[in-house]
Protein backbone atom coordinates (compact mmCIF):
# COMPACT_ATOMS: atom_id res chain seq x y z
CA UNK A 1 0.00 0.00 0.00
CA UNK A 2 2.72 2.39 1.04
CA UNK A 3 4.77 1.44 -1.97
CA UNK A 4 1.78 1.86 -4.30
CA UNK A 5 1.17 5.33 -2.90
CA UNK A 6 4.77 6.45 -3.26
CA UNK A 7 4.81 5.19 -6.84
CA UNK A 8 1.60 7.04 -7.60
CA UNK A 9 3.08 10.36 -6.54
CA UNK A 10 6.19 9.87 -8.62
CA UNK A 11 5.83 11.79 -11.87
CA UNK A 12 7.24 9.21 -14.35
CA UNK A 13 5.24 6.35 -12.86
CA UNK A 14 1.97 8.28 -12.83
CA UNK A 15 2.60 9.52 -16.36
CA UNK A 16 3.00 5.99 -17.70
CA UNK A 17 -0.02 4.68 -15.75
CA UNK A 18 -2.19 7.52 -17.06
CA UNK A 19 -0.84 7.04 -20.60
CA UNK A 20 -1.88 3.39 -20.53
CA UNK A 21 -5.27 3.71 -18.88
CA UNK A 22 -6.57 6.99 -20.35
CA UNK A 23 -8.08 5.60 -23.59
CA UNK A 24 -10.02 2.90 -21.78
CA UNK A 25 -11.36 5.14 -19.02
CA UNK A 26 -12.29 7.82 -21.54
CA UNK A 27 -14.19 5.45 -23.83
CA UNK A 28 -15.99 3.85 -20.87
CA UNK A 29 -17.01 7.27 -19.55
CA UNK A 30 -18.50 8.36 -22.88
CA UNK A 31 -20.38 5.08 -23.10
CA UNK A 32 -21.77 5.33 -19.55
CA UNK A 33 -22.77 9.01 -19.96
CA UNK A 34 -24.55 8.27 -23.25
CA UNK A 35 -26.32 5.32 -21.63
CA UNK A 36 -27.46 7.26 -18.57
CA UNK A 37 -28.47 10.47 -20.33
CA UNK A 38 -30.26 8.86 -23.28
CA UNK A 39 -32.06 6.43 -20.98
CA UNK A 40 -33.12 9.34 -18.81
CA UNK A 41 -34.13 11.64 -21.64
CA UNK A 42 -35.86 9.15 -23.95
CA UNK A 43 -37.00 6.16 -21.90
CA UNK A 44 -37.77 7.23 -18.33
CA UNK A 45 -41.35 8.26 -17.46
CA UNK A 46 -42.38 11.92 -17.19
CA UNK A 47 -42.77 13.46 -13.79
CA UNK A 48 -46.24 13.90 -12.30
CA UNK A 49 -45.81 17.58 -11.40
CA UNK A 50 -43.10 18.83 -13.77
CA UNK A 51 -43.83 16.80 -16.89
CA UNK A 52 -40.87 16.43 -19.22
CA UNK A 53 -38.97 19.49 -18.04
CA UNK A 54 -37.51 17.51 -15.14
CA UNK A 55 -35.36 15.50 -17.60
CA UNK A 56 -32.66 18.16 -17.38
CA UNK A 57 -31.92 16.50 -14.02
CA UNK A 58 -29.83 13.95 -15.96
CA UNK A 59 -27.29 16.70 -16.70
CA UNK A 60 -27.89 19.09 -13.81
CA UNK A 61 -27.44 16.74 -10.86
CA UNK A 62 -24.34 14.90 -12.21
CA UNK A 63 -22.71 18.25 -13.09
CA UNK A 64 -23.44 19.75 -9.67
CA UNK A 65 -22.26 16.60 -7.89
CA UNK A 66 -18.99 16.46 -9.83
CA UNK A 67 -18.45 20.21 -9.38
CA UNK A 68 -18.56 19.86 -5.60
CA UNK A 69 -16.66 16.57 -5.41
CA UNK A 70 -13.76 18.04 -7.37
CA UNK A 71 -13.47 20.75 -4.76
CA UNK A 72 -13.56 18.20 -1.92
CA UNK A 73 -10.64 16.33 -3.49
CA UNK A 74 -8.81 19.62 -4.02
CA UNK A 75 -9.15 20.42 -0.31
CA UNK A 76 -7.56 17.05 0.51
CA UNK A 77 -4.80 17.83 -2.00
CA UNK A 78 -4.21 21.27 -0.49
CA UNK A 79 -3.81 19.84 3.02
CA UNK A 80 -1.49 17.17 1.60
CA UNK A 81 0.59 19.85 -0.10
CA UNK A 82 0.73 22.15 2.93
CA UNK A 83 1.89 19.36 5.26
CA UNK A 84 3.99 17.01 3.13
CA UNK A 85 4.87 19.29 0.19
CA UNK A 86 3.98 16.58 -2.27
CA UNK A 87 4.25 18.12 -5.73
CA UNK A 88 1.68 15.76 -7.19
CA UNK A 89 -0.90 17.41 -4.93
CA UNK A 90 -0.36 20.79 -6.56
CA UNK A 91 -0.33 19.21 -10.03
CA UNK A 92 -3.69 17.72 -9.08
CA UNK A 93 -5.12 21.07 -7.96
CA UNK A 94 -4.05 22.98 -11.07
CA UNK A 95 -5.35 20.22 -13.33
CA UNK A 96 -8.72 19.84 -11.67
CA UNK A 97 -9.63 23.51 -11.08
CA UNK A 98 -10.68 24.24 -14.72
CA UNK A 99 -12.77 21.05 -14.76
CA UNK A 100 -14.43 22.15 -11.54
CA UNK A 101 -15.17 25.57 -13.02
CA UNK A 102 -16.59 23.97 -16.16
CA UNK A 103 -18.96 21.67 -14.28
CA UNK A 104 -20.01 24.38 -11.82
CA UNK A 105 -20.90 26.54 -14.79
CA UNK A 106 -22.78 23.64 -16.37
CA UNK A 107 -24.71 23.10 -13.12
CA UNK A 108 -25.62 26.80 -12.89
CA UNK A 109 -26.57 26.96 -16.56
CA UNK A 110 -28.78 23.86 -16.57
CA UNK A 111 -30.24 25.05 -13.27
CA UNK A 112 -31.24 28.35 -14.87
CA UNK A 113 -32.75 26.59 -17.87
CA UNK A 114 -34.68 24.34 -15.49
CA UNK A 115 -35.71 27.16 -13.17
CA UNK A 116 -37.31 29.31 -15.85
CA UNK A 117 -40.21 26.94 -16.69
CA UNK A 118 -40.65 25.44 -13.20
CA UNK A 119 -39.98 28.20 -10.69
CA UNK A 120 -40.74 31.06 -13.07
CA UNK A 121 -37.28 32.61 -12.89
CA UNK A 122 -33.77 32.03 -14.23
CA UNK A 123 -32.01 33.17 -11.12
CA UNK A 124 -32.70 34.17 -7.53
CA UNK A 125 -30.25 35.05 -4.78
CA UNK A 126 -31.18 32.19 -2.49
CA UNK A 127 -28.58 30.42 -0.36
CA UNK A 128 -28.12 27.37 -2.61
CA UNK A 129 -27.74 29.27 -5.86
CA UNK A 130 -25.53 31.96 -4.38
CA UNK A 131 -23.17 29.51 -2.67
CA UNK A 132 -22.82 27.61 -5.96
CA UNK A 133 -21.97 30.86 -7.73
CA UNK A 134 -19.32 31.44 -5.03
CA UNK A 135 -17.93 27.99 -5.88
CA UNK A 136 -17.54 29.06 -9.51
CA UNK A 137 -15.82 32.30 -8.46
CA UNK A 138 -13.49 30.29 -6.19
CA UNK A 139 -12.50 28.03 -9.07
CA UNK A 140 -11.84 31.05 -11.29
CA UNK A 141 -9.80 32.70 -8.53
CA UNK A 142 -7.71 29.54 -8.12
CA UNK A 143 -7.11 29.31 -11.88
CA UNK A 144 -5.98 32.92 -12.10
CA UNK A 145 -3.82 32.60 -8.98
CA UNK A 146 -1.89 29.75 -10.59
CA UNK A 147 -0.64 32.04 -13.31
CA UNK A 148 0.08 35.09 -11.19
CA UNK A 149 3.25 34.13 -9.32
CA UNK A 150 6.73 33.72 -10.73
CA UNK A 151 8.02 31.12 -8.35
CA UNK A 152 6.53 27.64 -8.52
CA UNK A 153 6.56 26.79 -4.81
CA UNK A 154 5.12 30.11 -3.62
CA UNK A 155 2.32 29.73 -6.17
CA UNK A 156 1.55 26.21 -4.99
CA UNK A 157 1.54 27.35 -1.38
CA UNK A 158 -0.73 30.35 -2.00
CA UNK A 159 -3.13 28.27 -4.04
CA UNK A 160 -3.26 25.57 -1.35
CA UNK A 161 -4.25 28.14 1.24
CA UNK A 162 -6.95 29.64 -0.99
CA UNK A 163 -8.32 26.16 -1.73
CA UNK A 164 -8.39 25.43 1.99
CA UNK A 165 -10.20 28.69 2.81
CA UNK A 166 -12.73 28.07 0.05
CA UNK A 167 -13.44 24.64 1.51
CA UNK A 168 -15.72 26.36 4.02
CA UNK A 169 -18.13 26.92 1.15
CA UNK A 170 -18.70 23.18 0.63
CA UNK A 171 -20.73 22.39 3.76
CA UNK A 172 -22.61 25.64 3.13
CA UNK A 173 -23.64 24.51 -0.36
CA UNK A 174 -24.61 21.10 0.99
CA UNK A 175 -26.61 22.31 3.98
CA UNK A 176 -27.98 25.60 2.58
CA UNK A 177 -31.27 23.95 1.66
CA UNK A 178 -31.65 22.51 5.17
CA UNK A 179 -30.58 25.53 7.21
CA UNK A 180 -32.42 28.31 5.41
CA UNK A 181 -35.61 28.92 3.46
CA UNK A 182 -34.55 28.61 -0.15
CA UNK A 183 -36.28 28.42 -3.51
CA UNK A 184 -34.21 25.35 -4.32
CA UNK A 185 -35.77 22.19 -2.90
CA UNK A 186 -33.89 19.96 -0.46
CA UNK A 187 -31.85 16.93 -1.51
CA UNK A 188 -33.66 14.06 -3.22
CA UNK A 189 -30.90 11.52 -2.74
CA UNK A 190 -29.69 11.18 0.85
CA UNK A 191 -27.97 8.49 2.87
CA UNK A 192 -31.33 7.28 4.15
CA UNK A 193 -32.76 6.80 0.66
CA UNK A 194 -34.15 8.65 -2.30
CA UNK A 195 -37.39 10.45 -3.05
CA UNK A 196 -37.00 9.80 -6.78
CA UNK A 197 -38.93 6.92 -8.28
CA UNK A 198 -36.66 3.99 -9.21
CA UNK A 199 -37.49 4.20 -12.91
CA UNK A 200 -36.07 7.74 -12.90
CA UNK A 201 -33.35 7.14 -10.33
CA UNK A 202 -31.46 4.33 -12.10
CA UNK A 203 -30.61 6.33 -15.27
CA UNK A 204 -29.70 9.28 -13.02
CA UNK A 205 -27.23 7.17 -11.02
CA UNK A 206 -25.72 5.81 -14.26
CA UNK A 207 -25.35 9.35 -15.57
CA UNK A 208 -23.69 10.49 -12.32
CA UNK A 209 -21.27 7.54 -12.52
CA UNK A 210 -20.48 8.44 -16.14
CA UNK A 211 -19.67 12.04 -15.24
CA UNK A 212 -17.31 10.87 -12.49
CA UNK A 213 -15.46 8.50 -14.83
CA UNK A 214 -15.24 11.26 -17.45
CA UNK A 215 -13.71 13.68 -14.94
CA UNK A 216 -11.23 10.99 -13.89
CA UNK A 217 -10.14 10.49 -17.49
CA UNK A 218 -9.85 14.17 -18.41
CA UNK A 219 -8.27 14.97 -15.03
CA UNK A 220 -5.56 12.35 -15.62
CA UNK A 221 -4.89 13.76 -19.09
CA UNK A 222 -4.60 17.29 -17.73
CA UNK A 223 -2.26 16.10 -14.97
CA UNK A 224 -0.04 14.49 -17.60
CA UNK A 225 0.20 17.79 -19.45
CA UNK A 226 1.00 19.66 -16.24
CA UNK A 227 3.68 17.11 -15.34
CA UNK A 228 5.32 17.51 -18.76
CA UNK A 229 5.26 21.30 -18.34
CA UNK A 230 7.03 21.06 -14.99
CA UNK A 231 9.50 18.32 -15.88
CA UNK A 232 10.34 19.36 -19.43
CA UNK A 233 14.05 19.55 -18.66
CA UNK A 234 14.20 16.10 -17.08
CA UNK A 235 15.63 13.10 -18.82
CA UNK A 236 12.66 10.81 -18.40
CA UNK A 237 10.46 13.23 -20.36
CA UNK A 238 13.03 13.35 -23.16
CA UNK A 239 13.20 9.57 -23.36
CA UNK A 240 9.43 9.30 -23.61
CA UNK A 241 9.29 11.65 -26.56
CA UNK A 242 12.25 9.94 -28.21
CA UNK A 243 10.49 6.58 -27.89
CA UNK A 244 7.49 8.07 -29.66
CA UNK A 245 9.57 8.96 -32.70
Amino acid sequence: MRQFFSQLISFPYFFKLAQLSFPYIFVISIFVILLGVSWGVFFSPSDATQGDVYRIIYIHVPAASVAQSIYYTMVVASITYLIWRIKMASVFMISMAPLGALFTFLALFTGAVWGQPTWGTWWVWDARLTSTLILLILYLAIISLFSSFDRRDSTDQAVSIIVLIGGINLPIIKLSVEWWNTLHQSASITLSGSSIDNEMLIPLLISILGFYIYVTAIGMRRMQIEIIKREITHNWVKTIFQEKR
Binding site: P45, G120, L164
Partner: protein
Protein backbone atom coordinates in the same frame (compact mmCIF):
# COMPACT_ATOMS: atom_id res chain seq x y z
CA UNK B 1 12.47 17.48 8.99
CA UNK B 2 10.10 15.64 11.32
CA UNK B 3 9.74 18.69 13.52
CA UNK B 4 9.02 20.87 10.52
CA UNK B 5 6.26 18.55 9.42
CA UNK B 6 4.75 18.51 12.89
CA UNK B 7 4.71 22.30 12.90
CA UNK B 8 2.94 22.29 9.55
CA UNK B 9 0.31 19.89 10.84
CA UNK B 10 -0.28 22.17 13.81
CA UNK B 11 -0.44 25.19 11.50
CA UNK B 12 -2.89 23.59 9.07
CA UNK B 13 -5.19 22.22 11.75
CA UNK B 14 -5.31 25.46 13.72
CA UNK B 15 -5.92 27.29 10.44
CA UNK B 16 -8.86 25.02 9.61
CA UNK B 17 -10.17 25.30 13.17
CA UNK B 18 -10.13 29.10 13.30
CA UNK B 19 -11.56 29.32 9.80
CA UNK B 20 -14.50 27.09 10.72
CA UNK B 21 -15.05 29.01 13.93
CA UNK B 22 -15.08 32.32 12.06
CA UNK B 23 -17.57 31.05 9.49
CA UNK B 24 -19.84 29.61 12.17
CA UNK B 25 -19.99 33.05 13.80
CA UNK B 26 -20.60 34.80 10.49
CA UNK B 27 -23.38 32.37 9.59
CA UNK B 28 -25.00 32.70 13.02
CA UNK B 29 -24.87 36.49 12.75
CA UNK B 30 -26.34 36.54 9.26
CA UNK B 31 -28.75 33.68 9.80
CA UNK B 32 -31.98 35.64 9.30
CA UNK B 33 -30.77 37.58 6.30
CA UNK B 34 -29.84 34.44 4.42
CA UNK B 35 -33.43 33.20 4.45
CA UNK B 36 -34.90 33.71 1.02
CA UNK B 37 -38.44 34.19 2.28
CA UNK B 38 -40.52 34.63 5.41
CA UNK B 39 -43.34 32.32 6.43
CA UNK B 40 -46.93 33.42 7.10
CA UNK B 41 -46.23 32.83 10.81
CA UNK B 42 -43.38 35.37 10.66
CA UNK B 43 -45.81 37.94 9.24
CA UNK B 44 -48.67 37.36 11.65
CA UNK B 45 -46.41 37.27 14.69
CA UNK B 46 -45.77 40.57 16.46
CA UNK B 47 -42.67 41.30 14.36
CA UNK B 48 -43.53 43.93 11.76
CA UNK B 49 -41.64 43.68 8.51
CA UNK B 50 -42.08 46.80 6.40
CA UNK B 51 -40.14 45.98 3.30
CA UNK B 52 -40.92 46.88 -0.28
CA UNK B 53 -39.51 43.63 -1.61
CA UNK B 54 -40.62 41.19 1.03
CA UNK B 55 -40.89 37.53 0.13
CA UNK B 56 -43.25 35.11 1.79
CA UNK B 57 -43.38 31.41 1.06
CA UNK B 58 -45.49 28.41 1.89
CA UNK B 59 -48.13 26.22 0.34
CA UNK B 60 -51.12 27.41 -1.68
CA UNK B 61 -54.11 26.52 0.48
CA UNK B 62 -56.66 24.12 -0.94
CA UNK B 63 -59.76 25.69 -2.55
CA UNK B 64 -58.41 29.17 -1.95
CA UNK B 65 -57.53 30.22 -5.52
CA UNK B 66 -59.94 32.81 -6.90
CA UNK B 67 -59.12 33.88 -10.43
CA UNK B 68 -60.81 36.87 -11.97
CA UNK B 69 -62.77 36.18 -15.16
CA UNK B 70 -61.81 39.28 -17.11
CA UNK B 71 -58.34 40.14 -15.83
CA UNK B 72 -55.10 38.50 -14.72
CA UNK B 73 -55.94 39.09 -11.07
CA UNK B 74 -55.68 36.15 -8.68
CA UNK B 75 -56.38 35.92 -4.97
CA UNK B 76 -55.23 32.99 -2.90
CA UNK B 77 -54.02 32.01 0.56
CA UNK B 78 -50.46 31.03 1.45
CA UNK B 79 -50.22 28.73 4.44
CA UNK B 80 -47.42 27.23 6.49
CA UNK B 81 -50.01 24.89 8.06
CA UNK B 82 -50.18 27.16 11.11
CA UNK B 83 -51.03 30.60 9.82
CA UNK B 84 -52.30 31.88 6.48
CA UNK B 85 -51.81 35.11 4.57
CA UNK B 86 -54.11 36.42 1.86
CA UNK B 87 -52.26 37.21 -1.37
CA UNK B 88 -53.34 39.40 -4.25
CA UNK B 89 -51.48 39.13 -7.55
CA UNK B 90 -52.00 40.54 -11.02
CA UNK B 91 -49.98 38.78 -13.69
CA UNK B 92 -49.15 35.47 -15.27
CA UNK B 93 -48.69 32.58 -12.87
CA UNK B 94 -45.92 29.96 -13.30
CA UNK B 95 -46.92 26.56 -14.68
CA UNK B 96 -46.35 24.75 -11.43
CA UNK B 97 -48.60 27.10 -9.47
CA UNK B 98 -51.42 25.02 -8.00
CA UNK B 99 -53.17 24.06 -4.81
CA UNK B 100 -51.13 22.35 -2.11
CA UNK B 101 -47.84 23.07 -3.83
CA UNK B 102 -45.03 25.43 -2.84
CA UNK B 103 -45.08 29.09 -3.76
CA UNK B 104 -43.00 32.19 -3.04
CA UNK B 105 -44.52 35.65 -3.47
CA UNK B 106 -42.54 38.89 -3.64
CA UNK B 107 -44.26 42.15 -2.80
CA UNK B 108 -45.34 44.08 0.29
CA UNK B 109 -47.68 43.33 3.16
CA UNK B 110 -50.43 45.80 3.90
CA UNK B 111 -50.86 45.41 7.65
CA UNK B 112 -54.08 47.46 7.83
CA UNK B 113 -55.88 45.30 5.26
CA UNK B 114 -54.03 42.10 6.06
CA UNK B 115 -53.38 41.49 2.37
CA UNK B 116 -50.06 40.71 0.71
CA UNK B 117 -49.78 42.49 -2.64
CA UNK B 118 -47.47 40.38 -4.79
CA UNK B 119 -45.44 41.67 -7.72
CA UNK B 120 -43.91 38.33 -8.56
CA UNK B 121 -44.93 34.72 -7.96
CA UNK B 122 -42.41 31.88 -8.05
CA UNK B 123 -43.36 28.22 -7.84
CA UNK B 124 -41.33 26.06 -5.48
CA UNK B 125 -41.39 22.37 -6.22
CA UNK B 126 -40.46 19.60 -3.80
CA UNK B 127 -37.75 16.95 -4.01
CA UNK B 128 -40.10 14.12 -5.03
CA UNK B 129 -40.01 12.77 -8.56
CA UNK B 130 -42.71 10.30 -9.44
CA UNK B 131 -44.13 9.07 -12.78
CA UNK B 132 -47.64 10.21 -13.70
CA UNK B 133 -49.05 6.67 -13.77
CA UNK B 134 -47.64 5.83 -10.34
CA UNK B 135 -49.07 9.02 -8.86
CA UNK B 136 -52.48 8.25 -10.37
CA UNK B 137 -52.38 4.78 -8.87
CA UNK B 138 -51.39 6.19 -5.48
CA UNK B 139 -54.24 8.70 -5.55
CA UNK B 140 -56.76 6.00 -6.54
CA UNK B 141 -55.62 3.78 -3.71
CA UNK B 142 -56.09 6.34 -0.98
Amino acid sequence: MRKQRRNRIIFVSSFIFSLSLASVFIILAMNENIDFYYTPSDLTSSKIINKENLRIGGLVQEDSIESSQDSLETNFLITDLENTVKVNYVGILPNLFKEKSGVIARGYFDYSKGIFYAKEILAKHDENYIPKEVKKALVNDS
